[in-house]
């Protein structure tokens, strides 16, 4: 799953080495996250009135096998991964410009709702409705960009404000567009009855596998990820974005229009999150219901981006992984609860915040150890690391890619 991480064509060798560290760091974070999740289950069992210590192990087994029990649960991995990938790209793309788009959930909600307006009220086909969702998300995303560029207000604060404002605005629109909810008072009409053309195509696969969670959303998301990768790595605009993210003042000095870059970045970031919303609600499996708290999908994009160190192609892998975790969460229902996924995710993010530093540290320690008492690796991690650290630097830099 993570092969894509290393096989991306590297620009220079220094970057390649950083990627190795990043890969190692992500793996360490994931392992620690899972370990702590099991420990926590034991602790929770301890807190219960009647403890049964076999339950955590059964729970974890169910957790990991659940996604492979049926075509529905398996296809749900990718069904979840598509919007995660897009919100992850939204967050990661903004990260590249040094912006923290915590407002992805608001943009996602906007995109979702306007896609439904396009589908139900305007009778658009699916691709046109997706375009509408991009525009709506971009509109809600560009506002923090404008505030950042012209008033220098932290985008975190504006996008938090806009998340809630957006949610209530969507609710207001919902109530004032009675044609969008003719059947139930707080749920949009089912697309299958109002406009089947607006449902994302599945090429008949759903019927073959007797499920309803297969659609081209994941393919669209992967294509978008590749486009974002090309924009970031191969275009002048991408260079400007990364340059602004690394040092805004130096970029301005070098002649880059930082304000324009910030606004455009947030515009694109919002569009990505909006598209994510469109893909979920045009799948025909869920309807938009009146919400009183923010939708979690936008926030889930943050771990997707963090775990991938904002690399667009790595986001493909991490979103599938997190899509798997989210799909697996249902396997814990009954014994524990779906929320276990959140705990695992949070621990993974917590450790990924400094895992890069720790993995550098491990390598340093190993190097020192290797110099003092010869080559005696005693673990898989050490073996993987050792050959490189023992080599002189020039040799190291000519070395290839992690498999």
């Amino acid at each position: 799953m993570f092969k894509i991480f290393g096989s991306s064509s590297a620009v220079n060798k220094k970057k390649q080495k950083d990627k190795e560290y990043a890969f190692l760091a992500s793996v360490i974070s994931i392992l620690v996250g899972l370990l702590i999740a099991i420990l926590l289950l034991f602790l929770l069992e301890f807190a219960k009135a009647e403890s049964d210590y076999s339950k955590p192990l059964i729970g974890m087994r169910n957790y990991f096998t659940y996604s492979f029990t049926s075509a529905t649960t398996f296809s749900k991995i990718f069904y979840n991964a598509a919007p995660l990938m897009l919100t992850g790209l939204a967050v990661g793309f903004a990260f590249k410009a040094g912006l923290f788009n915590i407002g992805a959930t608001g943009q996602y909600t906007f995109g979702a709702f306007f896609a439904l307006i396009a589908a139900i009220l305007w009778q658009f086909p699916w691709w046109a409705a997706l375009l509408v969702s991009i525009v709506a998300g971009a509109f809600w995303g560009v506002i923090p960009g404008i505030f950042k560029a012209f008033f220098n207000i932290n985008e975190v604060i504006t996008s938090i404000m806009l998340n809630w404002a957006g949610l209530y605005l969507v609710n207001l629109l919902f109530y004032n567009l009675p044609k969008i909810h003719t059947v139930l008072p707080n749920r949009t009409d089912n697309l299958a009855f109002t406009n089947p053309k607006a449902i994302l195509p599945d090429f008949g696969l759903n019927q073959i596998f007797n499920t309803s969670f297969i659609n081209i959303g994941i393919i669209i998301a992967i294509i978008v990820a590749v486009i974002i990768y090309i924009v970031l790595e191969k275009t002048v605009f991408g260079f400007e974005i990364k340059s602004c993210g690394l040092n805004k003042n130096a970029s301005i000095y070098a002649g880059i229009k930082a304000k324009r870059t910030i606004i455009l970045t947030m515009l694109i970031s919002g569009g990505l999150a909006g598209l994510g919303g469109g893909i979920v609600y045009l799948a025909g499996t869920v309807q938009y219901t009146i919400e009183s708290s923010l939708l979690s999908m936008g926030f889930s994009g943050i771990p997707v981006a963090l775990l991938a160190y904002s690399h667009p192609l790595a986001i493909i892998a991490t979103s599938v992984f997190i899509g798997f975790l989210e799909s697996s969460g249902s396997g814990l229902q009954g014994l524990y609860s779906y929320e276990m996924t959140g705990v695992i995710l949070s621990v993974i993010i917590y450790f990924s915040a400094f895992a890069l530093i720790v993995s550098h540290f491990i390598k340093k320690v190993l190097k020192r150890k290797g110099q003092s008492d010869g080559d005696q690796g005693d673990g898989p991690v050490i073996e993987a690391v050792k050959p490189e650290t023992d080599k002189p630097k020039e040799q190291l830099e000519t070395k290839g890619v992690v498999g």
């Binding site: 926590l40 923290f100 008033f151 708290s293």
Partner: protein
């Protein structure tokens, strides 16, 4: 007239968690650590204090004779749990020099999930709402005042929603002002947020000051979470509905200064209360829309944005916030 009294009293009771949260953020950011985890810490505080109150302590003799003392204990529980939780942020951000926003986000994702898991384990599988005891308002009788002698609007305005958290947080506000501006400790704390290397050069232990900043932040946010639980009624879901994030906005609104934060919290809370009561306030225009309360709910956020846009020139964040302390840097 009574509706205005209710508005005022609700405004105050919902301003308290915002005030505490924003003060919490202020302590942390003044020491140089961005505390985006306020939301998570508030959830933690509300969770443990609510669990503490359900564990039969209210029905014990102590709870029957001195209910306010038990509430005081719950405040301590909230503060301690919030403080301990915030140390996770401190450890990552100070000791390991991790990205503060990322580790804060991790805590924000952890807290609500963990709260539900723990509530399931402690109460019953599938039930996460915690029943808080009723009748813990500090009413007129508590102060030895005969409620019937007061005009009804005054009684409603002052005593209908007066919890122990209200006077305590006002006390915290005043103490915060003195600590921050009139003590040696406050000066040192602020210097760590502005220029830690300079602070270090005159012998201030930056790491220690930052840990203290984060710890105070956690304690206050934990209490803020409890204040939210008290304000929100007797069936408490372990969640603070975005108040932690709003507190961050209030802190920026208040320009990292205690009394301006109070103004910001009251302002924000007022609009929020108006939105809640929009259906009953006849004089508010409906613009021909159905469910117009949703429009009023957006008002506090949009007005805050506009105010921020106009005041951004004067806005001054602590200079070194968000940057891990590196003694070798100049």
């Amino acid at each position: 007239m009574d509706i205005f009294s209710i508005l005022v009293s609700k405004t105050i009771v919902y301003a308290i968690p915002l005030l505490l949260g924003a003060l919490a953020g202020m302590y942390s950011e003044r020491s140089g650590i961005i505390n985006i985890a306020l939301e998570g810490i508030m959830i933690f505080g509300s969770l443990f204090s609510a669990l503490f109150l359900t564990r039969g302590i209210m029905t014990s003799t102590l709870g029957q004779t001195h209910p306010q003392f038990v509430i005081f204990l719950a405040i301590i529980v909230a503060g301690v749990s919030g403080g301990l939780f915030s140390l996770l942020l401190g450890f990552a951000a100070i000791k390991l020099k991790a990205n503060q926003v990322i580790s804060g986000t991790a805590l924000n994702i952890f807290a609500p999930s963990f709260a539900i898991l723990l509530a399931y384990a402690m109460i019953s599988q599938g039930i996460s709402s915690i029943r808080l005891p009723r009748g813990i308002v500090m009413n007129a009788a508590f102060f030895g005042i005969d409620a019937s002698t007061l005009p009804s609007w005054l009684n409603i305005m002052v005593f209908s929603n007066l919890y122990l958290t209200t006077p305590i947080s006002i006390l915290i506000l005043i103490i915060s002002f003195f600590v921050l501006y009139k003590t040696k400790f406050g000066l040192r704390l602020r210097s760590c947020g502005e220029h830690p290397q300079a602070a270090d050069s005159v012998g201030i232990n930056v790491v220690r000051m930052r840990y203290i900043g984060v710890l105070i932040s956690g304690i206050l946010a934990g209490i803020g979470g409890f204040a939210f639980a008290m304000a929100n009624g007797s069936n408490h879901e372990p969640d603070v509905l975005g108040y932690g994030f709003l507190a961050l906005a209030v802190m920026i609104f208040g320009n990292w200064k205690p009394f301006k934060i109070l103004v910001g919290a009251l302002f924000f809370s007022l609009f929020k209360t108006i939105a809640v009561f929009a259906a009953t306030l006849q004089f508010l225009p409906t613009f021909g829309l159905t469910k117009v309360d949703n429009l009023y709910k957006t008002l506090p956020y949009i007005i805050t944005l506009i105010v921020l846009a106009f005041t951004s020139k004067k806005s001054r964040a602590p200079k070194a916030e968000g940057i891990p302390y590196d003694p070798g840097q100049r």
